[in-house]
């Protein structure tokens, strides 16, 4: 008898958790961006809130990343290989999502440590990396949300 793919029995539950934590992530990261953009104009009134958003977004990204990695084998066999690979383009959309996600994890660690160790108001020179990094991470997060939801609509379970 063929052994089942790892965690395929928990696929739906983990996928739902993956989605729900993504809501927290995208909310925190988007709000973070709205405050960070104001730093460029010299407005630093919501620094504490911004740091809170960074922490919430960092931990939720980590959970989204781990849950995504856990369900990937079942997704690879039952959805990607069976439904997406024959078409081609959905796999292209998904693979950008997965690779951007992996880079995003490393970028998020950098972002978190950077913010933890500097005060935007006292050291505005460091905004030359902090602001673009915030925009890039938002780009990654939003691509992952849109591509993920679209692909789940194409085929979300088996």
């Amino acid at each position: 008898m063929e052994k089942p793919v790892i965690l395929e029995g928990l696929y739906s539950a983990i996928l739902m958790a993956h989605l729900l934590i993504t809501f927290v992530l995208v909310g925190a990261m988007t709000h973070n961006l709205l405050i960070v953009v104001k730093y460029v104009r010299g407005k630093f009134g919501r620094k504490k809130l911004e740091w809170l958003y960074v922490r919430v977004a960092f931990w939720s990204y980590l959970l989204v990343y781990i849950s995504g990695a856990l369900i990937y084998p079942a997704f690879r066999v039952h959805i990607r290989a069976e439904a997406f690979d024959p078409l081609g383009w959905p796999t292209g959309l998904f693979e950008v999502k997965e690779h951007w996600g992996a880079l995003g994890m490393a970028l998020f660690v950098v972002y978190y440590l950077l913010r933890r160790n500097f005060d935007p108001e006292q050291e505005p020179d460091k905004l030359w990396f902090y602001v673009p990094l915030c925009v890039i991470i938002n780009l990654i997060v939003w691509y992952k949300v849109i591509a993920g939801c679209y692909l789940s609509n194409l085929k979300g379970s088996w």
Partner: protein
């Protein structure tokens, strides 16, 4: 050197390096282990027609290489730079913009490679 300056330099190094090392797997056709979820095994060889996952090893490779470069830069800064050295505004700007460009290049390359490979472009 101030902790925030050191974190900035190391953060830029790590962010730029991880993207470039990630792409280097494709540029130099580096052979990494793949996980075969239906067989429950890791193999270096590619088995045509059997679903496999190279993503896990690819990111571990990029993270470890970027960590090695970051540690090397940390050691250089720690032992070679004067203790009272400060990151100048111009250097912070150049470093930030260069790193952002490197990260965007890596993300763009991934899109180009994957979209070309899967017939979107």
């Amino acid at each position: 050197m101030k902790k925030s300056d050191l974190t900035y330099i190391l953060g830029c190094t790590c962010a730029g390096a991880v993207g470039l090392f990630y792409c280097s797997v494709r540029w130099f056709s580096i052979n990494l282990p793949r996980y075969y979820p239906t067989l429950h095994v890791w193999k270096m060889a590619r088995m045509p027609g059997v679903p496999s996952q190279g993503w896990y090893a690819m990111q571990v490779f990029a993270y470890l290489c970027a960590a090695a470069v970051t540690i090397a830069v940390w050691m250089i800064v720690r032992y070679a730079a004067p203790k009272d050295a400060q990151l100048r505004p111009g250097t912070a700007k150049a470093l930030g913009l260069t790193t952002s460009a490197a990260v965007l290049f890596s993300l763009g390359y991934i899109v180009y490679y994957k979209f070309s490979h899967w017939g979107i472009l």
